[in-house]
Symmetry: C2
Subunit: 410 residues, 2 copies
């Protein structure tokens, strides 16, 4: 193994520079809490009430005073019945009595424990209790989940189903979220054919189906973007300039794949340079490497490599955090966990590698046999990436860093 | 710790019985490959072509014959230039010559390696090569990703962004997928108030905001369902029967939360029993436990517990695989991985527990302080569940089973 080639940049450095170009979109909008899944909060949510609002039962059973149950068994008259939703209707519990109570129902004043019904016997309007309750048993305290005045979610948090539930539980019917980023997807390349336009048996030599647009569009939608698919732009400089100029006025990002290698024949690079600025980066990762960042007027431009797996991985590692930052997300780090390699990787690479792997039944990670950057089946087969540092070999049983696809596909 | 109470059923047994009631919906539909993310294939996809269609270069550089490079350095005349998309246009490579070639361009007949441009120097229409190439170097073979006739995806596979790309790469413009399940969401309970209807400061004693509907709806949408929100049904038997009857005719599943505990005051249970059948299960899990499965005419009915975390966890463990099976998914197991506990859990429970945890900076799992089933903040804070077997304590450093939320939130 040799040193990283001069001019190749570490991923972390490239990511930091890229994120430096992104700042949160200034527009925010109010959406129904029902429709806010995946969106990014643009306000702190401060609770105006306790959740739960008052002490209540977490079991179906009988509310009692512990002082009445020092000698067992005890038979107590049942003086009231408190259903969930009883509100302030429950009378105080007189000493020497019990109240029938249901899950979620308010604890009557004076009671300090709930005995679950399985530990009781009902006898002619009285209840026979055989078990000594602990004070506070089966009582959920007011404010146990959320105390009044607490910040339950903060600006920059990305909303999940559970977060929508939490927002609703403090009475939020609508939430202020960051506007969706508008992204224009671009394809160029004479070899590209759209599925459906030509049957597999009729493909001319050298032609390949455009596949990157399909996963890029799906990844963008999962990240909350509005996507404009500009299709395959004719392979002429004037047409490319015109398409870029039109897209720039209505989008936050123009995203393309292919055409960013040093020697590639493509009009994207000169067209971006005519309209704005473009920097070609060589990032020391595998798959990946070529990457372009530029501006067309005030619009961001990102060019991904054309190889499907390179395009896919580079999107997840660089474009995903970029788009989350545009939406104001504060936690941008790609999540990885420790896992055990159940494979050998004897040849170190000078670049940081992202190997397609999946869990096996033994709890380890297995390697997809073909790690070529052209082999998209590896990304379908795999359930994540091993993040292997430069110059590192891997032996069966080694602990490695694992990036689950599930974490970066949402 | 005592034994599981009589009548409580292990989760695995309950899940197997529940899945026994579900069979794949018979309706399938054709959707654009662009719009098929998250849908479930109802056909095997067999490739009608090789991907890539022919041997091509995986680098920008020069195509050569290895036999010409036995003595180094060598200077070879550059006799042609082969861009990506050149198709059959490339002439055979004469012995003693090199071809300028770009990533994705077809390898000319006779060439058996590519030398990357970084290892070459261009000199007046000739190229000086200093490095000995290995035969096959930087050549992607025809059919390397997908061989003609190979089944790339099978009926029952759930489509991901990468799978859409793979489908497109074999020319599929549309895919046959299972129809979306139609789910009616139901709420009952006099204590429930919709966010927006009453301000936090004006809530009457005992009232709580309806939060379960918000996360249940979002979870259903993430699973590809069409959701009808029937709102809060008036708390009368006749109204409940009428609502259930109306929902049954147009949905595959009626889903409700709350009202399934043994002693609960609710019209859902008797209403389902009037129209069809209902079984109340006590499942030996925590949080969770009460669960109802029934039928209203030919429509499935599932009743979840009302406590938010119980409802959330029970949905993920039971309803999610049920809905995936309705869509024909074949892999229904909830994914869990080994992880290290960075907490102590000294009190064993007779039930199988699902503890809300998240990763800490040291790579271990931390416990949310309050594991009450009412505390929805635990599900927002956490990034997954520890699946703790019945009767099991946990000590700091122990290996535990971890279910990442990311795996079950899609």
């Amino acid at each position: 193994m040799s040193e990283a080639r001069p001019g190749q940049r570490p991923l972390d450095e490239a990511l930091a520079e890229l994120l430096g170009f992104a700042s949160a979109l200034s527009d925010v909008e109010s959406v129904s809490t029902f429709d806010a899944d995946g969106r990014v909060l643009a306000q702190d949510l401060v609770s105006g009430l306790h959740v739960p609002p008052q002490d209540n039962s977490s079991m179906d059973g009988y509310a009692v005073r512990c002082a009445d149950l020092t000698q067992l068994p005890v038979v107590l008259p049942v003086t009231q019945r408190i259903p969930a939703g009883a509100g302030a209707g429950a009378a105080p519990l007189a000493p020497g009595s019990a109240a029938r109570i249901f899950t979620g129902a308010p604890i009557p004043a004076g009671a300090n424990a709930v005995v679950m019904q399985e530990d009781c016997e009902l006898q002619d309007g009285a209840v026979r209790i055989k078990v000594q309750p602990l004070p506070g048993q089966w009582i959920r305290r007011a404010g146990e989940d959320v105390a009044i005045g607490a910040t339950v979610l903060a600006s920059g948090d990305r909303l999940t189903p559970a977060a929508l539930g939490l927002s609703a539980s403090i009475g939020m019917a609508a939430l202020l979220v960051r506007r969706r980023p508008r992204v224009a997807l671009f394809s160029t390349g004479d070899e590209l054919v759209m599925p459906g336009d030509v049957a597999p048996t009729d493909m001319r030599p050298g032609a390949i189906y455009n596949s990157n647009r399909f996963f890029l569009r799906a990844l963008l939608l999962r990240l909350g973007c509005e996507v404009t698919d500009l299709g395959i732009v004719p392979d002429r400089l004037d047409a490319t300039i015109e398409a870029l100029r039109g897209a720039a006025s209505q989008h936050d990002l123009i995203l393309t794949s292919g055409g960013v290698s040093v020697g590639e024949e493509d009009h994207i690079k000169p067209a971006v340079q005519v309209l704005g600025t473009l920097a070609l980066w060589q990032i020391a990762i595998k798959p990946g490497k070529p990457f372009a960042y530029g501006r067309v007027h005030d619009t961001h431009f990102i060019g991904l490599p054309g190889n499907p797996v390179s395009s896919y991985v580079t999107f997840l590692l660089l474009v995903r955090p970029f788009l989350l930052k545009l939406q104001g997300v504060t936690e941008l780090e790609t999540k990885s966990v420790a896992a055990q390699a159940h494979f050998d990787w004897p040849r170190a690479d000078r670049r940081r590698e992202f190997l397609r792997v999946r869990h096996n039944a033994a709890g380890g990670l297995e390697l997809f046999a073909n790690q070529s950057s052209a082999v998209l089946t590896s990304a379908v087969w795999g359930d994540g990436l091993v993040d292997n540092p430069p110059g590192q070999t891997i032996a069966h049983g080694d602990s490695v860093r694992f990036i689950p696809f599930a974490e970066v596909l949402q």
